[in-house]
Amino acid sequence: MRYYPNIPDLNVNSSINLLLRRAKENRTVEIEEYITTGGYSALKKALTKFTPEDIVVLVEESTLRGRGGAGFPTGRKWRFALSNPPPRYLICNADESEPGTFKDRIIIERDPHLLIEGMAIAGYALGAELGFIYIRGEYPAGAKILEDAIEDARKKGYLGKNILGTDFSFDILVYRGAGAYICGEETALIESLEGKRGHPRLRPPYPANYGLFGKPTVVNNVETLSNIPIIVTYESYYMNIGSSGYYGPKLFPISGKVNKPGVYEATMDITLRDLIDMAGGIRDGKKFKAVFAGALGVYSERDLDTPMDYSPKGFGGTGTTIVLAEDDCIIDSLIVIAEFFEHESCGKCTPCRVGTYEQLNILRKFQNGTATEEDIKLLEHLGRNIPVGSICGLGYSASNAIMDALKKFRDEFYEHINGNCPAGVCFKND
């Protein structure tokens, strides 16, 4: 019996049973069970029936988009890397550390072979011989589970030299990060994977041209790669899952003031309202106030009927949904988010390093009652300038939450200037 660190049940639910088919219970699916439930048949099918080019075309046609937040079409990313000569590398980004995101760990800890199968197929399509899984340092159990699963897969001949008797060879190495949010950014991840400090690189050149060890590299999220076996299995039927243009299953990690927080699998045409209903509605019968979503956009009651897809109006991103009820304060929440960005800024770009610090200080003034209308203008100024002065996604999204809140909950800022917190959270002396 293998020993893994304690993981409580994180509550997983699915109505469509694709990504989370085997992952509903709080245990790790071993390789035997994975195979008897149809596992590795997609890899077999890919290696025997398809050429690498066929798989790239399948992924392109599936309209699969990166599930890590940016939503870049996966097929196009692969195509860029394929235009460069080998050796190519495949990296699985398992460094999910965005506030409120905990979907990838479900796949890693409960159904690791789904990810391994997806990586093997992706490796075949990309002509890569080596793949890495960069897993965040805070998931020690996940790293152990993956290493054991990879070892099992090697023994059964699904990884390693001449997989399933073909001339395709592929292996995966697990690499642990050490607690830096910035390493979820693909170029910073590559730097960290090369054994350096995780500073993002200036782009271009993009990783597809100059990535790991200077070679063409594809960096994909765990959930993206776990979609690959499903695409290969279902082929054109994949386009029946979900709404037009945004096909496929999506994991939604819901947390905050809902009755049953957890990871829910659904198609992307689901609206925010349905998603909250799926999670059992707002806790204690309170009223809904706001949602902090992927890359921390803030959404109010007016956005409840927006679909969770990648359209400009939709939520897109990681699917993260942090629900706030009427007794939570927007300013208080923004301070927590600002603290996060101030702490996690790597310090490479001055506008991000200093801007996130100033942003936090200004927000704190709202909480202790020394803010003026001038401070709102300063926040807007920072919100416009931090993104344009930064080179990576952290800087781009550092003021998203504040800018959105200034649009949708502007009155709360004025209330705080007048020394009044509508939710009754701030101005308490304890």
């Binding site: 660190p5 304690n6 993981i7 409580p8 049940d9 994180l10 509550n11 999910e96 550390s97 965005e98 506030p99 409120g100 995101t101 905990f102 760990r105 080596l130 965040r136 340092g137 805070e138 998931y139 020690p140 159990a141 190495l173 690499y175 642990r176 990060g177 050490a178 607690g179 830096a180 949010y181 960290s192 994977l193 090369e194 054994g195 350096k196 400090r197 995780g198 060890f213 990690p253 819901i254 947390s255 905050g256 003031k257 927080p261 957890g262 990871v263 902090f292 942090i322 706030l324 939570d328 208080d332 929440s333 927590v336 988010i337 603290e339 996060f340 702490h343 996690e344 790597c346």
Partner: protein
């Protein structure tokens, strides 16, 4: 050079990493994890030995240690309590949980451990938002909602 802190076991593991990864530098962070899980702090002596063993300049290793949060902070304790303070845990009441920990262990959050048993650290999202407020003790993850002092004491007593 004789290695005092890098035990045979750790050295074997490091050798395996060096062999496995295409680039020697890739073994640094993984080796630091080994040292961290054994000694629970990365001190100068550890870095010197690792630099000697891997034949990597000390400044490179120090650069890495000072960048990554898990290695940077000096804690001085056998067990690390990581209490998540990000938004989902914040609105579910991680401050109360933190107070309970401070009361039960006698340590202050984010301060060098006084008696060498526990170090309490407030960390950013540990990816367990559905069981918010979540906390980790060493490698184990726990749920903090509706937790009582009694239950918490029971959990803490497992870590001596």
């Amino acid at each position: 050079m004789e290695f005092i802190y890098l035990t045979e076991e750790i050295k074997q593991q490091i050798d395996r990493y060096v062999e496995k990864f295409p680039l020697k530098d890739q073994a640094i962070i993984q080796s630091l994890h080994l040292i961290y899980s054994k000694y629970r702090d990365i001190e100068d002596v550890h870095m010197k030995e690792l630099s000697e063993y891997l034949q990597v300049p000390l400044n490179v290793i120090e650069g890495i240690v000072s960048f990554y949060d898990m290695f940077r902070v000096k804690r001085g304790a056998r067990h690390h309590i990581r209490v998540c303070k990000n938004l989902p845990c914040h609105i579910m009441g991680c401050k109360n949980l933190l107070k309970m920990f401070e009361k039960l262990t006698g340590e202050k959050a984010n301060q060098y451990s006084k008696n060498g048993r526990f170090y309490i650290e407030t960390v950013e999202c540990i990816g367990s938002c559905s069981i918010a407020p979540a906390f980790m003790i060493d490698d184990d993850l726990y749920e903090g909602l509706n937790i009582t002092e009694e239950k918490l004491n029971e959990i803490l007593s497992k870590y001596t």
